[in-house]
């Protein structure tokens, strides 16, 4: 069978599976819609969290980014996993004990203020929308390359699928589809990685293959060879990178703290039964994520080696089929500057003739390595699973923010259970349509902003939540002040140094403390902490009953189920 037929088959089967699960796990109450009824097992929640977390960016883009960034790519590996340690130790158990439906719920109640709640809703919406648009785009890219449909049609098909199970099943439907999606995506990621690792080094475990010698009888270590080739072509050594230490430090921290502060991740820990389960499920989630995250850097190394071997100084006319296929998508371009018909892939911009988009490294990897058709098709199904699962999780946060935090808690407190459920479904539908619109007409800033969603989460939520748990006397004035200043500072820095909304984008040398916009979340977070603590000193203590809530969430027993008020 051809790649095409395999792809239709595998994507068709997985989509049918997701829809089947959605019908089986329809939500009947708001509690099921927001937190899957609160009785999800730690393992199922771990798998769902992992799928929720691993987006199109993790599956499709990350290994490619690392392949071209080398050591600098470590920021994503450490940043997107280390955050789970913070989440497990500092947030998840306490938020589970607190036992509400959403993150703004916690902020609103802990800081006894609807203003705090509104600020939190605003932050949650900004973070989630920027993130979800990127997912829809990912769905479109996979569809257009593997199923030969127009990118817009791809986005619309993706929208319909997500709409179906997110609107029907809410958190319950999403959780169980995500369990299935985790299995699909991890299988799809590991199979080609194992094949290629075995092919190149004779060791089937990619994590070890990466540090082994090449299979060509030379006895050279793969990494040494890659370092050698990189220098030869004028690039920095693969294991070295070009970013400054302070910037790597800041970006890693911002991504970690941002991960811990992302509402769609936090909310997953409301779905388990006990505090104990929340801790365990964070551990399982990270374990399941680590399988992909420790394989990805190996894939990067294999892919980069294979790419250089295949194209560098070879005749353009002799390029394999995949090269032409990807040229058609515009994600790979060859510009024969010196008209010699040979591909020069070098660091020098004036002489380099090949540009390769980060995104195709994972998608094209099986083709580059000549793997069987079904493996190539599997990667397409995996990429879709990764994008859809994350999109669904984000849509739920958006719909819960609107129906629960805004309508129920602020504007119409006497809304009926049924009314709220319909409001949640309506909000999810509107959110899918908006996300789809941004997927089809991506404003230039979406791609840039997705990476910054973490900075925004770090700058806004993380300090407010941590202080809310670990500092009993933290009051609303401080928390609100911190969040507002933190997120404004981050937005300002983004607008100035990344989006160019405030005149021309200044040169790198003008970055504050030498920190890039991606890493600035760290600075904004620290400012948030300082502002919050300073304001706290000069304003009244929180009321006695709030301090009691804090005492109470520190003790794990008696969590009960996530409840409405």
């Amino acid at each position: 069978m051809s790649v095409q037929v395999w792809t239709y088959l595998l994507v068709g089967i997985t989509f049918a599976l997701y829809i089947g699960i959605a019908i089986w796990s329809r939500a009947g109450s708001t509690k099921e819609f927001y937190v899957a009824g609160g009785g999800v097992s730690p393992l199922a929640n771990g798998m769902a969290t992992a799928a929720d977390w691993m987006s199109a960016a993790s599956f499709i883009s990350m290994a490619g980014i690392i392949a071209f960034a080398g050591y600098d790519g470590s920021v994503y590996l450490m940043g997107w996993t280390g955050g789970y340690v913070l989440l497990a130790l500092l947030l998840a158990p306490y938020l589970r004990k607190f036992g509400k439906f959403t993150v703004p719920d916690f902020i609103g109640d802990r800081y006894y203020s609807n203003t705090a709640r509104m600020v939190a809703v605003f932050c949650a919406l900004i973070v989630s929308f920027t993130y979800v648009a990127g997912q829809m785009r990912g769905v479109g890219v996979v569809f257009s390359r593997f199923l030969q449909v127009d990118i817009n049609t791809g986005v619309i098909i993706g929208m319909i699928i997500v709409l179906f199970y997110a609107v029907l099943g809410g958190m319950k439907g999403i959780t169980y589809t995500q369990v299935a999606q985790y299995c699909v995506l991890i299988f799809a990621f590991m199979v080609p990685a194992i094949f290629i690792s075995f092919q190149m080094t004779g060791n089937p475990i990619p994590q070890l293959g990466m540090g082994s010698t090449l299979n060509d009888g030379s006895g050279t270590f793969l990494m040494d060879r890659l370092n050698g080739l990189s220098t030869e072509l004028g690039f920095a050594e693969y294991t070295d990178g070009t970013k400054s230490v302070i910037d790597v430090f800041a970006i890693t921290l911002a991504l970690m703290v941002g991960t811990a502060g992302l509402p769609h991740v936090i909310v997953r820990f409301f779905t388990v039964k006990r505090v104990k389960d929340a801790r365990k499920s964070a551990g399982l989630a990270l374990l399941l994520i680590a399988i992909l995250y420790t394989t990805a850097p190996a894939v990067s190394v294999f892919a980069k080696m294979n790419l250089i071997d295949t194209v560098s100084n070879e005749k353009y006319s002799l390029m394999p089929v995949w090269f032409k296929n990807w040229e058609e998508t515009g994600l790979l371009t060859f510009d024969d500057k010196n008209k010699d018909g040979i591909i020069q892939y070098v660091a020098d911009k004036d002489k380099n003739e090949l540009t390769v988009d980060n995104d195709i490294m994972v998608l094209a990897n099986p083709e580059i390595a000549n793997l069987p058709a079904w493996v190539i098709a599997l990667v397409a199904a995996g990429g879709l699973a990764a994008a859809l699962s994350t999109a669904a999780g984000l849509l739920l946060v958006i719909s819960a923010s609107v129906s629960h935090d805004l309508i129920k808690k602020v504007f119409k407190p006497n809304i009926s259970e049924k009314g709220e459920l319909w409001a949640a479904r309506g909000a999810a539908t509107v959110a899918v349509v908006i996300a789809g619109y941004f997927g089809i007409h991506p404003p230039g800033f979406v791609a840039a902003v997705v990476a910054l969603a973490f900075g925004l989460a770090a700058a806004s939520f993380f300090p407010a939540i941590v202080l809310g748990i670990f500092y009993k006397k933290m009051n609303k004035e401080g928390a609100i002040g911190g969040m507002v200043v933190g997120i404004s500072l981050m937005l300002f820095y983004m607008a100035k140094f990344k989006l160019g909304w405030l005149g021309e984008i200044p040169d790198k040398s003008e970055w504050w403390f030498g920190i890039s916009p991606e890493g600035f979340g760290t600075v904004a977070m620290i400012v948030n902490f300082i502002v919050a603590l300073v304001i706290n000193r000069f304003t009244p203590e929180p009321p006695e009953e709030v301090q009691e809530i804090v005492e109470n969430i520190r003790i794990p027993s008696g969590a009960g189920e996530a409840v409405d008020h």
């Binding site: 690392i66 050591y71 790519g73 470590s74 590996l77 450490m78 996993t81 280390g82 789970y84 340690v85 913070l86 497990a88 130790l89 500092l90 158990p93 994590q207 990466m210 540090g211 082994s212 010698t213 270590f221 793969l222 990494m223 040494d224 294991t239 230490v245 790597v248 430090f249 890693t252 921290l253 970690m256 006990r274 104990k276 801790r279 365990k280 964070a282 551990g283 990270l286 374990l287 680590a290 995250y293 420790t294 850097p297 670990f470 005492e551 520190r554 003790i555 794990p556 027993s557 008696g558």
Partner: protein
């Protein structure tokens, strides 16, 4: 302070001590070994890996996973000790 409150305070103190220790390790493997001391560690090679690079792209992640499971164990024990388990 009531007996109940004393117990809660003691539990919280032990919990915070665990957090401090575990987060120190978290910081040491990622920001320490993977970033600040990467160049020094890169002079050591294990197999095909330079050590600093290995910590940044592999080792730190393994340690993160272990840390959470150690935390889960410690806390389950602590919950039992104070009768907060269920």
């Amino acid at each position: 302070m009531s007996e109940k409150q004393k117990k809660a305070t003691a539990y919280w103190k032990e919990n915070v001590r665990y957090l401090f220790i575990l987060l120190s390790i978290w910081f040491a493997v990622s920001f320490g070994a993977g970033i600040l001391f990467k160049d020094a560690l890169n002079t050591i090679k294990i197999g095909g890996f330079k050590l600093g690079f290995w910590f940044a792209q592999q080792g730190s992640i393994y340690v993160f996973v272990i840390l959470i499971f150690v935390y889960v164990r410690l806390m389950n024990k602590l919950d039992k000790k104070y009768g907060y388990n269920e």
